[in-house]
């Protein structure tokens, strides 16, 4: 073995040793400390905002779960937290916990980065009624170890990768162009993730909602529930079926980071960095394959990843669904481009459906609205190129893409359709909501220095402090440049296919920019039919169409680069690059920095600190439910029953119950009713009827003279499980197809003819 091999083995062995040490530490005894305290508040003696604290105590650095035993007469208003005067907030990460009267015990996690001896439990009283904190315990958990393991593995992989890359001479083999592109991609990744390099989260409209989705994944996985259908702790433990309606496939990464042990802010930042990096790399790869030009792809990727629309959606609004849609769109565009432009006779053409179907499937499972728009433009594209569409081979690939996307999404689509067809939810009752008044003014599309404004309802506030809803002047420049090319018939450097694609890109961009405006007759379309009403209303904001304009114009920017760089006169290319660079800085990067300048910084550590009540537009509630009523409580019976040993569980509960009467009794549990809840008398195995109560809680019907232990819980219908199996099989099949070698038609003919 050569020296390099030895070094590598030693290197890997050291890394393995570190991993082993951390893994062993998981089995060490976890310390637990129990403290008694005497913090009693009453309305008579204490004013709102009164606070008390426990005696100081010492803890070594580590991660802990604090459990508080208390009694409270109020919901939410009273709080507890761990505090230290000596440590700054970076060294003690805790967001505290809210107390509920229906619970006698709550727990929350803290991350302590320094040994300290002045920790104390601090409670704050806001009434009404009495509050008494009786005791609390602090138990070590595995979060620190999980985080250490994660970083060791990441660092090891990174270092090994770099080491092998250099040792095997790959770095030296890189051409100058590749090196420039890599450097450019590094800068692009940096700017795409620019606001993530603080140690906080920039607050945005939908942030808490998406963080709750991640918490739902974490809570479910920690309780052995997979896949997640109802986020169990949402709405004070009543549960919320957001995952059924709003796919969370990619969000599992963030959920896993929480499971590993990262706090909410850290997992948010790591996840968002991953998505930003993926957006840059996916857009670069997609545009590179479309353009067959690395510099053009780099330019398109930079413009796309730092685009006004992406910055607005990702950092100003924290619209994660659209953020994922933006990540996937170039992939889908490339999928269509490949199917329509490649020669069906080439090897691997039959695999072309893979890219498109995976892109579409992930889009469906991430953001249905973007999927809706892509669907519309897919139909339009198929009609536009109807000759090509109906070429047998191409049509087959398109059909395969659609079918494969549906199969890959079966695990999501079946529950979604099940609820949509059998239930009655808020989202099914919003078709009267019009959107035209939310459209943009033409001026929005012409502004260079868009700022992180607060207002999105143009009809109320006009352009005053308007949110950054636009495309920015750099993409306008691209469009104008292309119009100039069309007007003067300049298309040097572009093939016929590329020229056609450019025209299509420009057309779709103009069309969607028009559709984003308030002058577009959305109201008329909405009033035309029930289906149109539902579809139009679900769009919510016409500016969402700019996501299509965005990807199209960025691709077009790359096409124009290809054209100007092919011309003999390099001056034009220089002018183009300079203009693009200046306008990208003036528009895109200005908005990024303005967002950092004006955005509110928040730090959430444990999920209890942000509460569990926020459900945004409440679209996935059963129609008529009032979420403000959802507070923890013991089961409530419609008649006289005897209850004992009540225990609230994750998406379920158990209670020993006796109905001495001669009539049926409804026993209401603090769980929001969704199809799938079941109840059983565990003493006899008898199934009990479960219904939705008037307040939409889970009601178990107790027969007369019933006595036994009732367990109620959520269980997926069998056909959801079948759908999950279909998805798994489809994924396995596609992986198999992806790795199978294909031969071209020409070769196949040769093989058949035996030559």
């Amino acid at each position: 073995m050569n020296k390099t091999g030895h070094k590598l083995y030693i290197f890997v062995a050291i890394q393995g040793l570190f991993v082993l040490l951390v893994v062993i530490s998981f089995f060490f005894r976890h310390h637990e400390y129990v403290f008694t305290t005497d913090m009693v508040y009453s309305e008579e003696t204490d004013q709102e905002g009164a606070g008390r604290e426990s005696a100081h105590f010492y803890l070594p650095a580590g991660s802990y779960t604090v459990t508080i035993y208390y009694s409270s007469d109020a919901d939410i208003s009273n709080t507890c937290d761990i505090y230290s005067e000596k440590l700054d907030a970076r060294c003690l990460a805790s967001s505290g916990v809210q107390l509920f009267r229906g619970l006698g015990k709550v727990d929350f996690d803290i991350w302590l980065y320094r040994n300290t001896d002045d920790l104390r439990l601090v409670s704050e009283y806001h009434g009404p009624g009495n509050l008494s904190i009786e005791s609390f315990s602090v138990a070590e958990n595995n979060a620190f170890r999980g985080m250490a393991l994660f970083w060791i593995l990441i660092a090891s992989l990174f270092m090994d990768g770099i080491y092998l890359w250099i040792v095997r001479g790959r770095f030296q083999e890189l051409s100058k162009q590749d090196r420039i592109v890599y450097a450019g991609l590094a800068i692009t990744i940096f700017y795409a993730a620019y606001p993530l390099f603080g140690d906080y989260i920039l607050s945005g409209g939908d942030l808490v909602y998406h963080l709750q989705r991640v918490e739902g994944i974490r809570d479910s996985i920690l309780h052995g529930i997979f896949p997640v259908r109802i986020s169990p702790e949402w709405q004070q433990g009543y549960g919320y079926a957001s995952p059924v309606f709003y796919g969370e496939t990619i969000l599992y990464i963030a959920g896993l980071l929480r499971v590993i042990g990262f706090d909410v802010t850290a997992s948010f930042r790591i996840f968002m960095f991953m998505i930003s990096t993926a957006t840059v790399l996916i857009s670069y790869q997609s545009f590179r394959r479309i353009l067959q030009d690395k510099y053009g792809a780099l330019m398109a990727s930079f413009l796309y990843s730092t685009s006004i629309y992406r910055v607005y959606k990702v950092y100003c609004c924290e619209s994660w669904g659209e953020m994922l849609g933006i990540m996937l769109l170039p992939w889908i565009v490339y999928g269509f481009y490949a199917i329509y432009t490649e020669d069906p006779a080439t090897a691997n053409y039959r695999k072309r459906f893979l890219t498109l179907s995976v892109g579409l499937a992930l889009l469906i499972q991430s953001h249905l609205l973007t999927g809706e728009m892509v669907g519309g433009f897919t139909v339009l594209t198929c009609v536009w190129f109807w000759r090509k569409t109906f070429e047998p081979r191409r049509f087959l690939e398109l059909a395969k893409s659609a079918v494969a996307a549906v199969l890959l999404s079966a695990w999501f689509l079946v529950p979604f359709m099940d609820y949509m067809l059998t239930g009655n939810f808020v989202i099914q009752n919003v078709s009267a909501r019009t959107i035209q008044y939310r459209g943009l003014l033409p001026a929005h599309l012409l502004i260079t220095f868009l700022r992180n404004g607060d207002h999105v309802f143009i009809d109320e506030t006009g352009m005053f402090d308007t949110a950054a809803m636009g495309i920015g002047s750099v993409l306008l420049l691209v469009l104008c440049w292309f119009l100039y090319m069309c007007f003067f018939g300049k298309k040097e450097g572009l093939s016929e296919t590329e020229w056609t694609a450019s025209k299509l890109m420009a057309a779709y961009a103009v069309m969607t920019m028009g559709m984003s405006l308030a002058v577009f007759p959305w109201d008329a379309i909405q009033n035309s039919s029930a289906l149109a009403a539902t579809l139009v209303s679900s769009i919510q904001f016409p500016n969402r169409f700019l996501t299509i304009a965005n990807v199209m114009l960025c691709g077009l920017a790359g096409m124009i680069w290809k054209h100007v760089s092919a011309e003999e006169n390099r001056k034009k290319a220089t002018v183009y690059v300079l203009l693009v660079a200046v306008l990208a800085v003036a528009g895109n990067l200005y908005l990024l920095e303005d967002e950092m300048e004006r955005g509110a910084a928040i730090r959430v550590h444990n999920d209890e600190g942000m509460g569990t009540g926020y459900i945004s537009g409440a679209e996935y509630l059963p129609y008529g439910a009032d979420p403000s009523e959802f507070m923890p409580h013991d089961p409530i019976a419609s008649g006289e029953v005897f209850l004992d040993r009540y225990e609230k569980r994750t998406l379920g509960a158990s209670v020993s119950v006796q109905n001495p009467g001669t009539e049926e009794i409804r026993l209401a549990f603090p769980l929001l009713y969704y199809k799938g809840y079941e109840a059983e008398n565990t003493d006899t195995g008898e199934k009990l009827s479960v219904q939705s109560g008037d307040d939409f809680t889970v009601n178990v019907i107790l027969p007369p003279h019933f006595a036994g232990n009732v367990e109620v819980g959520f269980k997926e219908p069998f056909y959801w499980r079948i759908a999950e199996a279909v998805t798994l099989l489809a994924a396995a099949g596609m992986i198999w197809i992806g790795f199978r070698r294909e031969v071209s038609d020409e070769k196949r003919k040769t093989m058949v003819s035996g030559k």
């Binding site: 000596k86 440590l87 700054d88 907030a89 970076r90 060294c91 320094r114 100058k176 090196r179 420039i180 890599y182 450097a183 800068i187 620019y194 390099f197 603080g198 140690d199 906080y200 920039l202 800085v585 990067l589 200005y590 920095e593 303005d594 950092m596 300048e597 004006r598 955005g599 509110a600 910084a601």
Partner: protein, 473 residues
């Protein structure tokens, strides 16, 4: 005289450009008010106090005040030497506003001259010196010091900082020992007498560069320069240093010991690469992240050149030792100024740590040093470029970028920042610094040491001993 004329003839175009930057950056003074920064009250009051003490006590030393509401600079035991200029102007009958503004204008031009001269010497290239000088004068962090914070002491320090870098570069990177001790003594003394917080930052950068180049630079002539520097610097500044050392027995008597957690005042690294400075003045970035954060960056033009250099190394493999060392030192200073360093471990531990933290005031102050090192790096990068017309275009683009970003920042400062007019200026200059009139025996001794050292150096220079020994030639 002939040499001076020759120098002027050779450098007039470049000087004109850098002076244009100084004129531009003085634009906020063309108003009938003074920007109300967090240190403005302390600056104005120091002028008033020094002016009041003129002719009845010398040297004038002001008693630091509690930090409360007067800004962070209020509680620093500072030499206040350059406050004599506005104080004398005020004594002569100018209003405090005019005295303040005239001082700022004069120092803008001195800064421009020193910056161009030093960067040109370091780069050995006029155009590179001009580019770096231009960027230095328009440095967002410097603009913030002057107009955002209203910190006159720090502005004086910015003027003389290039001299300290020049001395370091000569000593550690160029191994030029002739006159180096003199440059170091001059640079560090002027910075110390301007603003001690900046001085301690400069000392740290000196140590960092020394450690980075130690293996190759420790030679007998270098040690000789170091000894001369130490003795000369200590002697000249004894009148201020010795009292300061005595006061260090109670660190809080020299500088504000932040009662809050010091790490909250350290920077995020991405503050260095900000393109648009919005005129914010928050220094505790923990509270609100980068919302309205004070400018600390050297400007995106500087960062762009540094990134270009790094990318060029990645693409072509061509490196330059001098640039590498300068940028590495700058990088270390950037990290030291950031919240990546666990500064909290030093807080409330012992007297030594308290002295260090008190002297530094906040880690963020190290950004000043990181910025000048980055700008020096830019000068060297330009000097190393192959001479062609394209280099001129690059320099033009970099200067234009620096100008536009400074334009943006100055515009924001003028249009969004609070201001005070004459009646309020009088109010703001009344925070009442005490003057130390009754000096102890040791303080008097320290003044004698300073006088003796100055006299010794003058005699030594006049007898023509200076160059020979230092050169080692």
């Amino acid at each position: 005289m002939k040499n001076a004329r020759q120098w002027y003839r050779e450098n007039r175009v470049q000087m004109l450009v850098v002076f244009a930057a100084a004129i531009f950056v003085s634009l906020p003074l063309g108003t009938d008010f003074v920007n109300a920064g967090q240190d403005t009250a302390a600056s104005l009051s120091r002028i008033k106090a020094v002016s009041d003490a003129l002719f009845w006590v010398f040297p004038i030393r002001l008693v630091p005040l509690p930090q409360t509401a007067y800004g962070y600079s209020a509680s620093v035991f500072s030499a206040d030497l350059f406050y004599l200029i506005p104080a004398i102007l005020y004594k002569l009958g100018f209003t405090i506003r005019t005295a303040y503004k005239l001082t700022v204008i004069v120092f803008q031009f001195i800064t421009a001259y020193i910056a161009y001269f030093v960067f040109r010497e370091i780069a050995q290239d006029r155009w590179a010196g001009m580019t770096a000088g231009f960027l230095y004068v328009l440095c967002p962090c410097r603009i913030y010091s002057i107009y955002g914070a209203g910190h006159l002491g720090e502005m004086f320090a910015w003027t003389f900082l290039p001299l300290t870098v020049w001395g370091m570069v000569r000593l550690f990177l160029e191994k030029e020992y002739g006159h180096t001790a003199g440059i170091l003594i001059l640079g560090y003394s002027l910075v110390l007498l301007s603003w001690p917080v900046t001085f301690w930052g400069a000392v740290i950068s000196f140590l960092v560069m020394f450690l980075l180049t130690m293996r190759e630079s420790i030679t007998k002539p270098m040690l000789l320069v170091l000894i001369k520097f130490g003795l000369g610097f200590g002697g000249i500044n004894a009148w201020y240093l010795i009292p300061m050392i005595f006061r260090f027995r109670d660190a809080s008597a020299v500088a504000p010991l932040l009662t809050e957690h010091i790490r909250e005042y350290a920077l995020y690294l991405n503050q260095y690469i900000k393109i648009f400075e919005f005129g914010g003045d928050r220094v505790n970035v923990w509270e609100s992240g980068l919302t309205s954060a004070a400018a600390v960056s050297p400007g995106i033009a500087v960062i762009a050149v540094v990134v270009f250099y790094i990318c060029n190394v990645f693409v072509t493999g061509k490196q330059d030792r001098k640039t590498n060392k300068l940028l590495t030192t700058a990088g270390i200073m950037m990290i030291l100024s950031s919240n990546l360093v666990p500064w909290d471990l030093m807080q409330n531990k012992n007297l030594l740590f308290s002295i260090i933290l008190g002297a530094l005031q906040t880690p963020a102050k190290l950004a000043v040093i990181a910025d000048i090192l980055l700008i020096t790096g830019v000068a060297v990068v330009f000097a190393r470029m192959p001479k062609s017309a394209e280099v001129g275009r690059y320099a033009g683009a970099v200067c234009l970028t620096g100008f536009l970003t400074a334009q943006f920042q100055v515009g924001r400062l003028l249009t969004t920042k609070g201001f005070i007019r004459d009646d309020q200026i009088l109010e703001w200059s009344q925070i009442g610094y005490g003057v130390i009139a009754q000096e102890s025996f040791f303080w008097r001794i320290s003044e004698v040491i300073t006088l003796a050292t100055v006299a010794g150096i003058v005699v030594w220079r006049m007898t023509g001993h200076a160059g020979e020994a230092e050169n080692g030639r």
